[in-house]
């Protein structure tokens, strides 16, 4: 019952006119951004973050807006996947496998509607699980001291290294680069300046927003420019087909399973939508054994599973972000960074001390998903038309927004130069198949990790064995070792599956 009254508080926050407007606006913009080919959720959130900050929104409103963009883009990503065979981001790759064949045989409308319904069911199911799980997890997390946090982050980075990206070593290097960037600036413990190269702009540390926009958005422009070819992509017609009741009955268990899978993969630190949708798709294909010939040729089960899973994981990824302050994916890492910018440290106490933020966000996600279902069923035609926007009109706007956003923070051109340099760096990383999400995760968590490590060792007077002294820390250490060893064992037993391979190739 406590949960219900907390949720009621949340809805009272979400229903204020400003927040209601921001939910709708965020969902609409997110769908729009997600449906534009090549620009995924992470870029959408990155580009809008400095704007939300500079406009001076209160923290809960800014978070509601950015979260709306995030899951709105998870909806929008399917449009270009289904109609163009171009996934907006790694999480939408699995959607192309069965979505595009359907639209090629004239069932575009049916495919879009099925994926909208699956996305909706996946989000709603995951939100319900979130409402139950988040308070439990935050109760557990209250018992976390500095040592537990250190080990939790070690676990998060291990999960990240073994499950994200093309090679564990590259993910590890990405994380380390992020952590190094986080050490720049004045040291909070002693006031010593570290790695500032005597540049005053670095005294406060490397600005999180500049790194995010540079590494993601600027490098994205370069990648789009590289891939640009002078012929317009062909949008397959949507057609008059639509989802039937029989379709939904047929995929109801698929959606349910995919939702649970997606949610829990989302909760795991470091693993996000791309892995969730790949695992859900693989599971359904195996479950349908003997009847799985249609997978990859336009089977509605193969479309419903990844769609439900990637939306469920988007909600799941919020759970560790809000309760532990450890983001579950690259995009939630950016949301976490946004909260830190507003001087709010997510963690177990967030639910008690700032219920308007935690529960307001959750309540707004219920509203947002209903809005998205409405946006995506009758209004789908509007977004489909957006697919034919030419890049020559789109790119100048993106470049402009990145510059406006970054300049509006400090009003200093230095940030603009630094952003472009980071963009080049991000581009190089992508070309060498490093994923960028670990860099952001390292940057966001670096300060917290160092602080907790130093606090732990202060407690023990310099004895490192304190890191393995409690039940929770030992449990986390074992979990980390398992996360490190299990994937290699599984790979050896089964050989590298097709989904894993696809994932590895496209996850940059």
């Amino acid at each position: 019952m406590e949960v219900l009254s907390a949720l009621a508080t949340g809805f009272s926050v979400a229903f204020t006119p400003l927040n209601l407007f921001l939910v709708l606006f965020g969902c609409f913009t997110g769908t729009l951004i997600g449906s534009l080919p090549g620009i995924g959720p992470i870029n959408g959130v990155a580009i809008l973050l400095p704007l939300a900050y500079s406009i001076g929104l209160p923290p809960e409103s800014a978070l509601i807006l950015l979260a709306g963009v995030y899951y709105g883009a998870e909806y929008g990503g399917r449009i270009s996947s289904i109609l163009l065979n171009v996934p907006g981001d790694a999480g939408a790759i699995m959607t192309t496998l069965d979505g595009y064949p359907m639209s090629k045989r004239g069932e575009g409308g049916r495919a879009l509607a099925i994926s909208a319904v699956s996305s909706f069911a996946g989000s709603m199911g995951a939100l319900l699980m979130m409402v139950i799980m988040a308070p439990l997890l935050s109760e557990l997390a209250i018992r976390f001291g500095p040592t537990e946090y250190v080990m939790l982050m070690v676990f998060a980075f291990t999960c990240l290294a073994t499950m994200v990206g093309s090679r564990p070593i590259k993910t590890l290097i990405g994380t380390l680069i992020g952590l190094v960037l986080a050490t720049v600036g004045v040291d909070s413990g002693t006031g010593v300046l570290r790695f500032t190269m005597d540049i005053p702009n670095f005294f406060d540390g490397v600005d999180f927003l500049v790194v995010v926009i540079g590494v993601f958005a600027i490098s994205e422009v370069l990648v789009l420019l590289e891939q640009w070819v002078n012929n317009d992509l062909k949008v397959t017609p949507v057609g008059k087909s639509f989802v039937t009741f029989a379709d939904i009955v047929k995929v109801r268990w698929v959606i349910l399973r995919a939702t649970v899978i997606g949610f829990f993969i989302g909760v795991l630190p470091g693993t996000g939508a791309s892995i969730a949708s790949a695992v859900a798709y693989g599971t359904e294909k195996r479950m349908a054994e003997g009847d799985s010939d249609e997978f990859g040729k336009g089977d509605i089960r193969g479309l419903a599973a990844p769609e439900a899973a990637n939306n469920a994981s988007a909600a799941g990824a919020m759970v560790p972000m809000l309760t532990l302050g450890i983001p579950g994916s690259g995009t939630t890492a950016i949301l976490l960074g946004a909260l830190l910018m507003f001087n709010i440290t997510p963690g177990p106490l967030l639910f008690e001390q700032k219920p308007e933020i935690a529960w307001g966000l959750i309540a707004s996600m219920f509203l947002g998903n209903i809005a998205l279902l409405v946006l995506n069923l009758p209004l789908i035609g509007v977004f489909v038309r957006l697919l034919s926007i030419r890049q020559s009109y789109l790119i100048p706007v993106i470049v402009m927004l990145t510059f406006v956003g970054i300049y509006s923070i400090h009003g200093d051109s230095f940030d603009l130069f630094f952003m472009v340099i980071l963009g080049i760096f991000g581009f190089i990383l992508r070309k060498l198949h490093f994923s960028l999400a670990p860099v952001i995760l390292g940057l966001v968590l670096g300060e917290v990790l160092e602080e907790n490590l130093r606090r732990s060792l202060s407690m023990s007077g310099g004895d490192w064995s304190i890191l393995l002294s409690g039940n929770i820390t030992i449990g986390l250490a074992i979990a980390s070792v398992l996360a490190l060893v299990l994937p290699f064992l599984l790979k050896r037993i089964k050989g590298k599956g097709r989904t894993a391979q696809l994932q590895a190739e496209l996850d940059d």
């Binding site: 070593i169 100048p396 300049y407």
Partner: protein
Amino acid sequence: MYDRIFAGALLLLSGLIAWAAAQFDVPFQYEPLGPKAFPYILSALLAVAAVWLMIRPSADDWKPTKEVVLRLGGALVLMYGYAFIYEPLGFIIATAIVGGVFSWLFGEKPIKAGVYALVMSVMSFFLLTDLLQLNVPVGTVFGG
């Protein structure tokens, strides 16, 4: 090969981190670790990871054509230039110029690209300043 070069740069970086951390002048310190330990740990891990990558690099699969390299170089010069003129020339002029060239780089005809960028930058300026009240530079050369 690219991986090896990158790993070499990382190795250099890890050395620099350790060297710079050793130079920190710490006047007082209340805890056992202090500001140097964490950078040392990162530097060591980075060095190990870099050596590993150097021993086992991935194959090079980035083989851009000459045209692509030119295009990318153009975009970089353009963005750098944008950062350079953004404050002095102001948002409207800078965005119109840079946006126009970008539009052209992505295949638009020159005149159409220029007109589009001009309309976009003027409209955005009023949208950003009046509606969103953001800090958008008018241009120091105009006394802004």
